[in-house]
């Protein structure tokens, strides 16, 4: 029998080797067709008396990335259409669909012949669940071999038996941790957890798998044997009483209960372990059906999987420009940002010239990379060789002549237009006419800086976030005259260093910083209202933000906030800054000398370690304090998300960001906007533009003009339109298809 996605070869021992190798794809994924074929293969194997057992492996470098999430998206779309007609039938259909993979794996598990999964490379999600359903599991030894169930990261959970098999193989604590965090496991760790049986030399992987069958592997899973005992003991036992209450608390601590899928994992495991295995699968299927319908799942799949991948592949790259091959990149300014840019560039294997006024400064910039590599070596994530190789790619220099031959130069010098002018001129004197010049400025409009350039078409902004090595987003800023070639080069570069680019048109604060300022400003206003400071910080985190707004101000420095306010007043007049907030910041800096984390005194106090930072008690005395009972924390949470979302909407309305995928992904990667919402615009879409505008109006009435919805949003609300409809990122594709 022939299959599109698999080959089946039976050897003389009667062991069928099923090799998964999908045509036209670099990665195996579960599609409808793959499941159909696997189903037929199982039938074929059961029917063929010559076959004694099965080894399943992949013909690609990775085993499989799991389910094709666009298949789930399609399934949900069909569900929504059907639901409009017949709710009950639609749910039933979704339930059947949700269980398809699970019961296929159960069929394999109970087919009567032993299956061994030979995990030759990355094996994630549904693919690892398939492996867990196999009676034997062998993984190839190697750094690139990772396995795990990462579904919670996109708002889902392992719905093909993962929540039932993992806690029947390993103890409860490890099982829950793995399932609720989606952590990837090395073969060693997986074996330690009893999730795989063997680790083999990559070349001997299939042999090792076949040997398991030849040695009489039983085609029965432990949980299908009589007298099976849970490895962590029964749920209702002393061990269970130590496990479950903290597990629930820790889930809340880590997720603020904002992620229904993570909670569903706990429910599936708890309920499933109290019943026989197949009942557990049914329970899991019911929860999976529920989670599939959540807004969180839809939004997270879209932003954190589909959009993120598309942006990473260069969705916004102009067509018709040849890909750039980087042989040398110049970074000017070896301070904290410049040194970080040099590091991530060299990490991608690209030679870097790191230029500063004098050699000691330039060398200090390279030392930053040495320090980061030492950190990785300490954690076992890099070797001394890696460090040597990376450092050899960074050439510290004080000579502009060294920039000759760079395809791209990025300046990260002091935020001063005059200094930047000089740097641009000196660089262009050396660079080829085709080279791209980029500024990492975070505050000065690109169009203005481009006036210093003889080749404004080649001038672009590439805005990194701090710390460069950890922040995954890069804003690419287009000046008025920036050309397609420069944009293509910038995107190629950001892709090369494996970060995510978003393309932003020139404006004060670009996209990200505008949103962040709104976030912090709302916190200042709450302080002024007399909301207790802990409530402000906690409400922000409960809303899903990774760092409280006051802590964030401390990190970026309160005196910097003061500088920005003063600059804004100089540029745009007094009304551009809330005077009460300005007074608060002035009081903090000028009266109390509280500059932020850098001087150990900000909104928080920073005592010597190991003591933890805590809010400055003096905050209570700045404004009359409200009683906590008078404050609705749900409103505080909404204020944070809404003020940011409104700014994102304004940015879209002004045409600064043009693609909602970029606004969404950017908001999550740059400042951690409540990931469960799918990003700042998806937060609005998830609620519906009409409901959102209504909410904004209520907040505007009570808390001020920062909640005024921009025209674009009011217009969308009237039409009940979403951002992904109004600014359809796939409009071109759809037009072409039509």
């Amino acid at each position: 029998m022939a299959y599109t996605n698999f080959t089946v070869e039976t050897d003389s021992d009667g062991i069928a080797l099923v090799t998964w190798d999908m045509p036209d794809r670099s990665m195996n994924v579960f599609t409808e067709e793959v499941m159909d074929e696997l189903d037929r293969i199982t039938d074929q194997i059961v029917a063929d008396e010559a076959v004694k057992g099965v080894v399943i492996t992949s013909g690609k470098e990775a085993f499989s990335g799991g389910a094709d999430l666009t298949m789930l998206q399609k399934m949900l779309k069909v569900f929504q259409q059907e639901e409009a007609r017949d709710h009950e039938a639609a749910i039933k259909m979704l339930f059947e669909g949700a269980g398809r993979m699970s019961w296929l794996f159960r069929k394999i598990e109970t087919c009567g012949k032993p299956w061994v999964s030979a995990i030759n490379g990355t094996c994630m999600g549904g693919a690892f669940e398939l492996s867990l359903a196999c009676h034997g599991r062998v993984a190839a030894d190697g750094d690139k071999v990772k396995m795990g169930l990462p579904e919670v990261k996109v708002g889902l959970f392992p719905g093909a038996g993962g929540t039932q098999r993992v806690p029947r193989l390993t103890d409860g604590q490890q099982a829950l941790q793995m399932l609720t965090t989606g952590a990837a496991l090395s073969p060693k760790k997986a074996k330690g957890m009893n999730l795989i049986h063997e680790i083999a030399e990559p070349a001997k992987l299939v042999d090792a798998a076949k040997a398991m069958i030849r040695n009489g592997l039983k085609p029965v899973q432990p949980w299908d044997e009589k007298g099976f005992k849970l490895p962590g003991g029964p749920v209702y036992s002393a061990a269970g009483a130590n496990l479950w209450p903290p597990a629930i608390a820790i889930l809340r601590r880590e997720t603020y209960n904002n992620y229904p899928a993570a909670a569903a994992v706990l429910k599936c495991v708890y309920e499933g372990l109290l019943v026989p295995f197949e009942t557990g699968l049914t329970i899991e299927q019911r929860y999976f059906t529920e989670i599939l319908q959540t807004t969180e799942a839809a939004m997270m799949i879209r932003s954190l999987f589909v959009s993120l991948q598309e942006l990473n592949k260069g969705a916004r790259r102009p067509e018709g420009v040849a890909p750039t091959k980087f042989t040398k990149i110049g970074v000017i300014g070896a301070g904290f940002m410049g040194a970080g840019i040099a590091y991530v560039t060299a990490k991608a294997g690209i030679p870097v010239v790191l230029l500063d006024r004098d050699m000691p400064s330039a060398e200090k910039g390279r030392d930053h990379s040495a320090g980061l590599m030492d950190g990785l070596i300490k954690k076992g994530r890099a070797t001394a060789e890696d460090k040597e190789k990376l450092l050899s790619l960074i050439t510290p220099s004080d000579d502009y002549g060294q920039l000759d031959g760079c395809e791209l130069v990025i300046e990260a010098v002091f935020e001063d237009s005059d200094i930047k002018k000089g740097v641009t001129e000196k660089s262009e004197a050396v660079l080829a006419a085709s080279a791209t010049f980029a500024s990492n400025t975070s505050t000065i409009p690109i169009t203005g800086l481009a006036k210093n350039s003889k080749r404004p078409k080649n001038f672009i902004g590439i805005h990194f976030f701090s710390p460069v090595d950890r922040m995954m987003l890069v804003e690419i800023i287009l000046g008025k005259k920036t050309g397609d070639e420069a944009l293509a080069v910038a995107i190629d570069y950001v892709r090369a260093i494996r970060k995510t680019p978003i393309v932003v048109n020139d404006t004060r604060g670009f996209y990200v910083n505008r949103c962040v300022l709104r976030y912090m400003s709302e916190a200042y206003q709450m302080l002024i209202e007399g909301v207790p400071a802990p409530m402000i910080e906690n409400a922000a985190k409960m809303a899903g933000m990774p760092v409280g707004p006051l802590a964030l101000t401390d990190e970026t420095a309160i005196d910097l906030a003061q500088k920005i306010m003063k600059q804004t007043i100089r540029d745009l007049g007094e009304k551009a800054v809330d005077q009460e907030q300005f007074a608060l910041i002035n009081t903090m800096v000028d009266t109390h000398g509280r500059h932020g984390r850098k001087n150990g005194k900000g909104f928080y106090d920073y005592p010597a370690k190991p003591a933890k930072k805590h809010l400055w008690p003096g905050l209570k005395d700045l404004y009359p304090q409200k009683a906590p009972e008078e404050i609705d924390v749900e409103v505080l949470k909404k204020r944070f998300l809404v003020t940011i979302a409104l700014e994102a909407a304004r940015v879209m309305g002004e045409g600064i960001v043009t693609d909602p995928r970029e606004a969404d992904v950017g908001s999550i990667l740059a400042f951690g906007f409540a990931p469960y919402t799918g990003g700042a615009l998806s937060y609005i879409d998830g609620m519906g533009s009409a409901a959102f505008v209504k909410l904004a109006k209520q907040l505007q009435k009570k808390y001020g003009p920062q909640f005024k919805a921009p025209k674009v949003l009011v217009d969308m609300a009237a039409k009940d339109e979403s951002f992904y409809q109004r600014f359809d990122p796939y409009a071109d594709r759809r037009q072409k298809a039509a």
């Binding site: 749920v235 209702y236 269970g240 009483a241 479950w244 209450p245 903290p246 597990a247 629930i248 608390a249 820790i250 889930l251 809340r252 601590r253 603020y256 209960n257 909670a263 706990l266 429910k267 708890y270 309920e271 207790p532 400071a533 802990p534 409530m535 910080e537 906690n538 409400a539 409960m542 805590h614 809010l615 906590p628 404050i631 924390v633």
Partner: protein, 402 residues
Amino acid sequence: MADAYVYDAVRTPRGRGKKDGSLHEVPAVRLAARTLEAVRDRNGLDTSKVDDIIFGCVDPVGEAGSVIPRAAAFEAGYATEAPGMQISRFCASGLDAINFGAAKIAGGSDEIVIAGGVESMSRVGMGMSGGAWFMDPSVGLPSYFMPQGVSADLIATKYGFSRDDVDAYAVESQKRADAAWKDGRFKDSVIVIKDQNGLTILDHDEHMRPGTDMQSLASLNPSFVMPGEMGGFDAVAVQRYPEIEGVNHVHHAGNSSGIVDGSAAVLLGSKKAGKTMGLTPRARIRAFTNIGSEPAIMLTGPVDVTEKLLKKAKMTIDDIDLFELNEAFASVVLRYMQAFDIPHDKINVNGGAIAMGHPLGATGAMIFGTVLDELERRDLNTALVTLCIGAGMGTATIIERV
């Protein structure tokens, strides 16, 4: 509606709730049986006339399972006509058993009820009956479950009680209990637990540490730092009460209720039953009620239930002569005193569970008897008995002497 009267109240001494505790050798059912025997023998009770025996028991499993008051009635030699039932409302079970009995009498179904409770914490163990409340994620997540100790620390944090405040309360509890014992104030109610040969096993509350002072308490480490930090419960507290930055852990073994074994029983009856039995009522159950309170902070139910009960009884806080609030944790009592502005000399005047221990299902009936004795000793009229309760509830009862 008939009034329910209190005719007698007895309790066992409280044995340390550990393997080295004096009552560890005594089965739970025997503790209960001893109180039933005492109620019968002290009052010359015709047990065939007992309409019900209602006992609270929080962990009614193993030897305490399967309706322990019925089993206790067998061991005590009660007439077969006296039935039994076991109830649980966690720590207030013993008081709820009394209220339940009073309701049956007031409703006219019963004339004579013995109500009380039993808990052998050393033999059965706390939490042995399990429960979805803290185990099932579908319950624990939305209710912000945290262990009581963390809730008690949360009360201290939210309402501003320092480690010194709670320790000072504990020292006073020990002092008062010691004084009460020395003064013989418990002697009419506490029965001696003897073996089958008449040898005494325990005749006093053995959990007490009369020498306790601020210094000795200061040396104790807070008990709930570990569950708070490692177990994630501090984060749960902060998410439920975001006005706090973190939990100030102040409670430890010395300012929390002691784990002990014990049993108590109260003889209730209608006025008519008293005449039939030839007994004089000591007090009337004037009012009682229950309430559900915020379950995460859990132990503030006494405040809520007291407000509800006073309103219901058309009384004010000043109408109450003595308060008896179970000393589950020092902060629980401090919060109650703060909420109603009750002076310390009107509440828990003979000490409480911090000194003498808290045999969960029995405590409500024990402190009920304690405050009744004290009303009589001081020749006062009215007392309010209340307890904080797991999962956020409150039970309270007002009695007045007749």
